[in-house]
C-alpha cells in the first residue's frame, strides 16, 4: 500500500511533521552535579558555577541563565569574572585557561568560548613551573596574574592571552629579597594566593604556600613589603581600606598584618585560632568586610576543632557580638558576600555559599540571618528522587491554593528578594501553569512550578506523619544545645539519609480539577489526600488489602508493613491524607491511578491489583495476578540488596546521631561504615563476575514477575456491547496480560451508600508476552479519551461516543490497536522485533502546528531503552519522528523520564538535575535572556569597587577525598 502512495501525500505529511515536531534540549533544572568552582561578578550581578565535568553555568535574575561546556572533559577548578566586563576566565584541571564571553545575538545573549591558553614554561622546565595554582583577574581588565606551583607569577594580557614575559615575577626575584631570618626562605613553595590592593591596583600581594606574603609593585617591579607568616598559608584577604592584610592558615589560625609600606620589619598585629586549644583544621578562606557604621563582618570557612568537629562543613560569621558557625550538610566549595550600593561597596547584604549539594544564601541584614529561598539551583535531591509526575495546565484555583499552602511552610525564610539580579529575562510568560511533582525516598512529595525556566519549589508534602517510623522524635538536629561551642546552626536542606526506606514514594497521581491526590510507596501503602486550606487533626484509617487472595505456599521475605499511627495526627494546611490502603504483602506499588469523578483509586503491585472506593472507604475489587510458581515475586524483590542498603543507612543514621550526642564514639561508627562499604563492594564485585552472555528464550508464563502490574487505566467506553458505554478499569501486567473490568457505579444520589461493583469483562493475553506499559482507549475519532472531569470543566471537547472505540495496548515491544467491544487486532507497530529497542516510558501528548494555530494532533511520546524518543501517531500507530535523547548507558536517566501532555519531558541527568526537552514546535521552555556590559564607572580612581567576590585564593581542595564513592556521571554529551 505504502509503496504505491502518491508522492504528493508523502511530502505533504513530511511538511506537516516538520510543523508539528522538533527536538530540543531546552534547559537544565536543579543543582549542578559535583560543582567545583564558584565565581561572582558584582558589576554584572552574575553568579558562575563550574563543575567537575567541565560545565560552566551562569545565573543572574530568575530566568537568566547560561550554560557552556568545555571541550576538555576536565574539572573546572577556578572561575573569575574580568572586573567590569562580560568576560570570564576558567581554569581547568588540565591547567588550561579559557576565556568566555556573553555575546549579544539577535537581542539575546549567548555564552561563548572565545579563547584558550596554556602556560608554556622555558624549555626543559618541570611541569610544576607552569602549573597554575592561583589566578588574579586584575582590576584593569587587561591583565591576568597566574601564580604557579613553581612559585612564579606569570602575567598575561587578555583577551588574547599574550604573555608579558618582561613583567613576570619569578621566584628568584622574590627569594632574593626575603629577610634572612625568615624560616622558610629556602623553599617558599607554590603561589597559594594573589590579591590586589583595593585602593591601588598596582600593588598585589603574593602569598606562598610556606606562609610568606610579598607585596609587589607591578609598576616598579619590586617587592614593597614582606610578611613573614610561618604557618602554611591557606588564603589572603586585603581589607577594603588597604591598610591590613588577613591571612588564614592550615592550623586553624588567622592573622592580621598592617600594611606599612616602608617599615620592613612588620609585626603581626593580631593572631587568633578561633576554635583553638585543641588542634584545628585549616581556615581555607577568610573575608573581612566593613559596615557603614559599626564593626566589620568577619567570615571564614573551616577552622573547626579537628577531633570533635573535624567532619563538619562550617562557615563562621562574626559581626559584633554575634558569632555563628553555619553548619552545612555537604562540603563547602566556595563562598562570597554580596554588598549593598550601586558600586557594591556598601554593607554586606547576603552571604552566598556553594556547597557540594546546594546553594545557600543567607540574609545578613535581617536578625538571626535567615536563609533566602533560592529561585533556582534548588537541590532536587534533598532526599533522593524516587519518582516524578507532571501535570499540565493547572487551573488557577488549585494553583493558588497550593501556593498558599506552600507559603505557610516558607515562613522561616527571609522576606528579602533574591539578591542576584543580573541580566534581563526576555522569555515570554509561560502559556500555562505546570506542576512537576517529585516523590522522594523520605516519603515527601515536592511540588515544583515547572511552567518556566526556573524550577521553583511551591510546596512540600510529607507522608511520614501518618506512620510510626523508627526515627527518634527527639532527634532534632537543627538546634544545638544552649551555650554550645562552637555555636552551630544547621543550614541547608540537603539531607540524603532517609529514616525509613519504606516511606519512599513510588507513584503519584494528582487530579488537577478536584485537588485529590494519591501517592503510593515502597511498603505497599496508598494514601488518598485532599487539599484543605485549614489545618486539621484527624485519624487516618488504614485498610489492609490481601492481594494474594489465599494463594498457598507464600513467604514474603521483604520488609514489613508500615505501622500506622492510631491516634489523630495534626496535618498542616495543604494536602491532608484521609484514606490509606496497605497492600499485603507490602510490596512496592508499581501502578496507580485515580478517577476523581468516580472517586476510585486503582493500585497494583507485583502480586495483583485492587480498586478502592475512597468515598465509601472500602475495597471494590482485588485481583491476584501472581503466578504461584513465581518464587522471586513471592519473596519480595531484591530483599538481599535492600538489606545491605538498609544497614548502610542505619550506620549513617547512627553516625548522624552520634554527632550531636556522643562525639567520642564516632570513630567507632566510621569503622562500621567502612565495614558496610566493604561488604557492599564485595557484593558488587561478585555481580560483575557474571560472564557477558545473554540467554535467548521466548517469554513464558513461568517467568518471574509476570504478574507484576505495570499499568492501570480508567475509561468510559464500550466494553461489552457497542450500544452502551460504561465505566471500566484496565490493568496490564509484566507478562503481557490485560485485564478489563466493567464497573457499575450507583447513581450520584446513592453514591455514598450503594456499593460500587466490578465485573471481569475481558482478559487479553498478548502472544509476545512482553510487559504492558500503557493502555489507552481511543474514541470514535481516534482521539484518546479525556481525563476525568476534563469535559465537566469545559477544558476538553466530549469524546466521540458515536463511532466505535479502539483499545491501544502498548507493550515494551509493540503498539497494538484492537477493536472494541469485540477485541480483535486492527493494527500494530512493532518496535523490538525491528530495531531491538524497547519502550521504557510512554505518554499521550497533544502537538500543535507551528504554522496554523487551529491544527493539532495527538500522538504518543515514547522513550526507549536505547534512550531514543519517538513520536507515534494516533490512531494509526505509525512512527513519526525519532531523536536520540539520553545515552543508553544512562539507565537512571531513562528510568526517570516523565512526559508532559504537550510534548515536553524531563529526565535526571544527575541525582540533582533535570534536563528538560521538547518534541513540540510550540511548547518550548528555554532561557532567553540578555546581559549588557556594565557602564564603566566614571571615577577611575574608584576603579575597583570590590574584587571578585569568590576570590582566587580559594582553590578546591579535598577533591580526591570523596571522588571514589559517587558514581561519576558525565554531563550530557551533546552541548
Amino acid at each position: 500500500m505504502k509503496r504505491f502512495r502518491r508522492h504528493g501525500q508523502e511530502s505533504q505529511r513530511d511538511r506537516l511533521k516538520q510543523e508539528l515536531f522538533q527536538f530540543n534540549k531546552t534547559v537544565e533544572h536543579g543543582f549542578p552535579h559535583q560543582p567545583s568552582a564558584l565565581g561572582y561578578s558584582p558589576s554584572l550581578q552574575l553568579l558562575a558555577i563550574g563543575t567537575r565535568s567541565g560545565a560552566i553555568k551562569l545565573y543572574g535574575a530568575p530566568g537568566v541563565e547560561f550554560m557552556g561546556l568545555h571541550d576538555e572533559n576536565a574539572a573546572v577548578t577556578q572561575v573569575h569574572f574580568m572586573p567590569h566586563q562580560v568576560e570570564l576566565v576558567t581554569l581547568l584541571d588540565d591547567n588550561s585557561l579559557h576565556m568566555w564571553t556573553l555575546r549579544g545575538h539577535k537581542g539575546l545573549s549567548e555564552l561563548l568560548e572565545i579563547g584558550r591558553f596554556t602556560l608554556t614554561g622555558p624549555p626543559g622546565a618541570p611541569p610544576s613551573v607552569t602549573r597554575v595554582t592561583a589566578v588574579l583577574a586584575h582590576a584593569s581588565g587587561e591583565l591576568l596574574l597566574l601564580g604557579t606551583e613553581g612559585g612564579h607569577v606569570f602575567i598575561v594580557e587578555v583577551p588574547g592571552f599574550r604573555e608579558l614575559e618582561e613583567r613576570n615575577i619569578s621566584l628568584d626575584q622574590v627569594a632574593a629579597s626575603v629577610p634572612d631570618d625568615y624560616i622558610g626562605r629556602r623553599n617558599l613553595e607554590h603561589v597559594e594566593a594573589l590579591q590586589e590592593n583595593p585602593i591601588n591596583p598596582n600593588q598585589v600581594v603574593i602569598g606562598y604556600g610556606r606562609g610568606l606574603m610579598v607585596i609587589w609593585d607591578l609598576e616598579k617591579q619590586c617587592a614593597i613589603q614582606h610578611i613573614p607568616a610561618t604557618q602554611q598559608l591557606e588564603s589572603v584577604w586585603w581589607t577594603e581600606d588597604g591598610s591590613y592584610i588577613l591571612s588564614s592558615h592550615s592550623d586553624g589560625s588567622y592573622c592580621r598584618w598592617m600594611v606599612g609600606g616602608e617599615d620592613v620589619n612588620e609585626e603581626e598585629e593580631k593572631s587568633d585560632i578561633p576554635y583553638g586549644h585543641f588542634p584545628c583544621k585549616a581556615i581555607s578562606k577568610i573575608i573581612q568586610l566593613p559596615t557603614e557604621e559599626g564593626p566589620p563582618f568577619l567570615l571564614f570557612s573551616g577552622g573547626m576543632p579537628r577531633a570533635s568537629y573535624g567532619d563538619r562543613h562550617c562557615i563562621t560569621v562574626i559581626h559584633s557580638k554575634t558569632h555563628v558557625a553555619l553548619d552545612f550538610t555537604s562540603r563547602i566549595i566556595d563562598f562570597f558576600v554580596i554588598r549593598d550600593g550601586l558600586q557594591h561597596t556598601g554593607d554586606p547584604s547576603a552571604l552566598v555559599v556553594l556547597v557540594e549539594e546546594e546553594l545557600v544564601v543567607i540574609d545578613l541584614q535581617t536578625d538571626c540571618w535567615p536563609v533566602i529561598q533560592t529561585p533556582y539551583l534548588v537541590p532536587l535531591h534533598s532526599s533522593a528522587i524516587t519518582c516524578s509526575h507532571h501535570v499540565s495546565a493547572i487551573p488557577l484555583k488549585l494553583w493558588e491554593r497550593v501556593i498558599t499552602a506552600g507559603e505557610l511552610q516558607h515562613t522561616h525564610y527571609s522576606k528579602k528578594p533574591w539578591p542576584i539580579t543580573g541580566g534581563q529575562n526576555l522569555a515570554p510568560d509561560p502559556p500555562q501553569r505546570d506542576l512537576l511533582l517529585t516523590g522522594h525516598e523520605d516519603g515527601t512529595v515536592h511540588f515544583w512550578d515547572a511552567s518556566g525556566v526556573c524550577l521553583y519549589p511551591l510546596y512540600k508534602l510529607s507522608t511520614a506523619g501518618v506512620f510510626h517510623t523508627d526515627t527518634d522524635p527527639n532527634d532534632n538536629m537543627n538546634q544545638g544545645a544552649e551555650g554550645e561551642w562552637p555555636p552551630f546552626r544547621k543550614v541547608g536542606c540537603f539531607d540524603p539519609y532517609s529514616d525509613d526506606p519504606r516511606l519512599g514514594i513510588q507513584k503519584i497521581h494528582l487530579c488537577k480539577y478536584s485537588g485529590y491526590l494519591t501517592v503510593a510507596g515502597t511498603a505497599g501503602q496508598i494514601l488518598v489526600l485532599e487539599l484543605n486550606d485549614e489545618a486539621a487533626e484527624q485519624t487516618v484509617e488504614a485498610k489492609v488489602v490481601d492481594l494474594l487472595q489465599g494463594q498457598e505456599g507464600f513467604r514474603w521475605k521483604g520488609h514489613t508493613r508500615l505501622d500506622v499511627r492510631e491516634e489523630p495526627v495534626l496535618f498542616p494546611p495543604g494536602f491532608q491524607p484521609f484514606a490509606l490502603v496497605q497492600c499485603q504483602p507490602p510490596a512496592v506499588v508499581t501502578a496507580l491511578t485515580l478517577h476523581s469523578e468516580w472517586k476510585l483509586v486503582a493500585f497494583g503491585t507485583s502480586h495483583g491489583f485492587g480498586l478502592y472506593d475512597y468515598q465509601q472507604k472500602n475495597n471494590v475489587l482485588i485481583k491476584c495476578t501472581l503466578n504461584p510458581s513465581d518464587q522471586l515475586a513471592m519473596e519480595g524483590p531484591l530483599s538481599r540488596v535492600k538489606s545491605i542498603k538498609k544497614s548502610l543507612r542505619q550506620s549513617f543514621r547512627r553516625i548522624r546521631r552520634s554527632r550531636v550526642s556522643l562525639r567520642k564514639h564516632h570513630v567507632n561508627n566510621t569503622a562500621k561504615l567502612q565495614e558496610a562499604n566493604a561488604r557492599l563492594e564485595a557484593e558488587l564485585a561478585e555481580m560483575e563476575l557474571a560472564p557477558v552472555q545473554r540467554k535467548i528464550e521466548a517469554r513464558s508464563s513461568d517467568d518471574s514477575f509476570t504478574g507484576l502490574v505495570r499499568t492501570l487505566y480508567f475509561a468510559d467506553t464500550f466494553l461489552s456491547d457497542s450500544s452502551h458505554n460504561a465505566p471500566s478499569l484496565w490493568a496490564g501486567t509484566n507478562g503481557g496480560c490485560v485485564f478489563a473490568y466493567m464497573l457499575r457505579l450507583p447513581p450520584v444520589e446513592h453514591r455514598a451508600d450503594e456499593p460500587v461493583t466490578a465485573q471481569p469483562a475481558k482478559e487479553i493475553q498478548l502472544m509476545h508476552r512482553a510487559p504492558v506499559v500503557g493502555i489507552v482507549v481511543l474514541d470514535g475519532h481516534g482521539a484518546p479519551l479525556p481525563e476525568p472531569l476534563e469535559v465537566a470543566h469545559d477544558l476538553s471537547r466530549s469524546p466521540d461516543m458515536q463511532g466505535s472505540h479502539q483499545l491501544l495496548v502498548i507493550s515494551e515491544e509493540q503498539f497494538k490497536v484492537f477493536t472494541l467491544p469485540k477485541v480483535s487486532a486492527k493494527m500494530k507497530l512493532k518496535l523490538t522485533a525491528v530495531d531491538g529497542s524497547r519502550v521504557r516510558r510512554v505518554g499521550v501528548a497533544w502537538f500543535c502546528s507551528s504554522r496554523t494555530e487551529d491544527y493539532g494532533e495527538s500522538g504518543l511520546t515514547v522513550l526507549t531503552n536505547q534512550g531514543d524518543v519517538h513520536v507515534v501517531s494516533l490512531p494509526h500507530v505509525k512512527m513519526q519522528v525519532q531523536y536520540p535523547c539520553i545515552r543508553r548507558e544512562d539507565v537512571s536517566g531513562i528510568a526517570s523520564c516523565v512526559f508532559t501532555k504537550h510534548g515536553q519531558g524531563f529526565y535526571l541527568i544527575s541525582p540533582s538535575e533535570f534536563e528538560r526537552f521538547s518534541l513540540s514546535t510550540c511548547h518550548l521552555v528555554e532561557p532567553r535572556c540578555l546581559v549588557e556590559a556594565p557602564l564603566h564607572s566614571g571615577s577611575s580612581n574608584q576603579h575597583r569597587s570590590q574584587p571578585d567576590g569568590a576570590s582566587s585564593a580559594h582553590r578546591t581542595r579535598q577533591e580526591s577525598e570523596d571522588a571514589g564513592k559517587k558514581s561519576v556521571r558525565g554531563f550530557k554529551e551533546s552541548q
Binding site: E763, M767, A825, K830
Partner: protein, 381 residues
C-alpha cells in the same frame, strides 16, 4: 512412472483420486486438485463417506516415496493433494487406537511393507507396546529449516526455528565478540555477535543447524551490525515464536552446496526441509493474542479482515478458499486452533468458565487459567 500417469490423462491434472481405507473398508472418491478446500472440510468429508460421523480419526496418507505421513492441518493436506499422482491413498485410524510409530519419514522404502501392513492388517490387534513415543503425530511440524539458500552467499546460513507451540526451549546464548572481515582497506576487525552456548536438549541444539561460535549476522532479516548485545537479545526474543537467524557458521565444512544437483541437502548433517524463496510476508506470521471474554469462550484474536491461515507453518501453495469441492461438510462443529491441532474434547471447554462471569473469584480462575497454560493447547499460541 509418475510421469506416465500425468501424461496419460489430462483429466487427472485437475482431479485427484482418493482411496480411503478405514479398518477393512475402502472408499473411493475424487477431489478437485486446484480447489482442495480446507482440512476440516476434508475431515468432515471422510467421516461422511465412511459413515463414521462421531469417530475421532487420525488421517494418514502414503506419499510418493511410500512414507506414511499424517494429514492434520491445511498445509499437509494441501501437500498431500498436490503431490498425489494421481491416486491419494489414505489410511484412517481411530484416534484412541492409533499406532503413532507407523508415521515418519524413516518408514521409507525399507520398512514400507511392514509398516503399511501393520496399519492395514492389524489396526487394533496384537500391537506390541510401542517403543518410545517421541511425539504425537498431530504435533508433527517442522522445527527448523534452512531457507533462502539461493540468495545467500554459500558461507552463510539462514536458519528458521519454529518455536511455535513447542515446549522445548529455544536454548542458546549469545555473546559479544569480534570478527575479521575483508573490506576495501584490507582485513578489519569488527565487533560481532556470536552464539556462545547451546542448552542441551534445546531446539537450537536439536536442529544441528546452529553451533557455538557461529556469528549472528541477521535476525529476521535485520542486520545486527551496530547493535548492542542487549538489542540483539531483545530482537531475538521479540521474534522468538518465529526466529530466523542468518549465521556465518564457525564450521564452514557443512555448507549447502548450491549446485549439488537435486538433493539440496549438504549431507547427513542436514536432513531438514530446505525451503527456497520463502515468501517475505511469511515473516509477518501473525501472533495471535488470546482473548477471554467474560461470557465464556476463549479465542485467539485474528486480524479483523484476514482470511484464515496457518500462519507460522510454511505454506507450499497459495491458499484458495473454496468450499465448492467438498459439498456436504459438517465442519461447523469443528474448529481448528491456531496451531493446527484439533481441539481435544474439553480442552477449550474448561475455558468457558462460568466462574469468570460470576464474581471476583480470582484464585479459582487463576489456577484454572494456569492449567490451561500448562497443557499448552490454547494459550501458548
Amino acid at each position: 512412472m509418475n510421469k506416465n500417469h500425468r501424461v496419460q490423462s489430462s483429466r487427472s491434472l485437475s482431479a485427484v483420486e482418493v482411496k480411503s481405507k478405514f479398518g477393512a473398508e475402502f472408499r473411493r472418491f475424487s477431489l478437485d486438485r486446484s480447489k482442495p478446500g480446507r482440512f476440516d472440510e476434508f475431515y468432515g468429508l471422510l467421516q461422511h463417506v465412511h459413515r463414521i460421523p462421531n469417530v475421532e480419526l487420525l488421517v494418514g496418507y502414503a506419499d510418493v516415496h511410500g512414507d506414511l505421513l499424517p494429514i492434520n492441518n491445511d498445509d499437509n493436506y494441501h501437500k498431500a493433494i498436490s503431490t498425489a499422482s494421481p491416486l491419494l491413498r489414505l489410511f484412517l485410524q481411530r484416534k484412541e487406537e492409533a499406532d503413532y510409530t507407523a508415521f515418519g519419514t524413516d518408514s521409507l522404502t525399507r520398512k514400507k511393507n511392514t509398516v503399511l501392513s501393520a496399519v492395514l492388517l492389524r489396526p487394533d490387534a496384537n500391537r506390541k507396546k510401542p517403543p518410545v513415543i517421541i511425539s504425537l503425530p498431530r504435533d508433527f511440524r517442522p522445527v527448523s529449516s534452512i531457507i533462502d539458500v539461493d540468495i545467500l552467499p554459500e558461507t552463510h546460513r539462514r536458519v528458521r526455528l519454529y518455536k511455535h507451540g513447542q515446549e522445548k526451549p529455544l536454548g542458546f546464548y549469545i555473546r559479544d565478540g569480534s570478527s575479521v572481515r575483508v573490506t576495501a582497506q584490507g582485513l578489519e576487525k569488527l565487533p560481532g555477535i556470536f552464539i556462545s552456548r547451546m542448552v542441551p536438549g534445546g531446539l537450537a541444539e536439536s536442529t544441528g543447524l546452529l553451533a557455538v561460535n557461529d556469528e549472528v549476522l541477521e535476525v529476521n532479516g535485520i542486520e545486527v551490525a551496530g547493535k548492542s548485545l542487549d538489542q540483539v537479545t531483545d530482537m531475538m526474543i521479540a521474534n522468538s515464536h518465529n526466529l530466523i537467524i542468518t549465521v556465518k557458521p564457525a564450521n564452514q565444512r557443512n555448507n549447502v552446496v548450491r549446485s549439488g544437483g537435486g538433493g539440496g541437502g549438504g549431507g547427513a548433517s542436514m536432513p531438514m526441509h530446505i525451503i527456497q524463496n520463502f515468501p517475505v510476508d511469511e515473516l509477518e506470521s501473525e501472533d495471535e493474542d488470546l482473548v477471554i471474554e467474560a461470557d465464556g469462550e476463549a479465542e485467539p484474536i485474528r486480524r479483523a479482515p484476514s482470511n484464515y491461515s496457518m500462519p507460522s507453518l510454511p505454506r507450499y501453495e497459495p491458499h484458495l478458499n473454496l468450499r465448492a469441492a467438498t459439498t456436504s461438510v459438517s465442519s461447523s462443529a469443528l474448529s481448528i486452533n491456531a496451531n493446527g491441532t484439533l481441539p481435544a474434547s474439553g480442552s477449550s471447554g474448561s475455558l468457558s468458565n462460568t466462574n469468570a462471569t460470576s464474581t471476583t473469584s480470582s484464585p479459582d480462575r487463576a489456577t484454572e487459567r494456569r492449567s490451561l497454560e500448562e497443557d499448552g493447547t490454547v494459550i501458548t499460541l
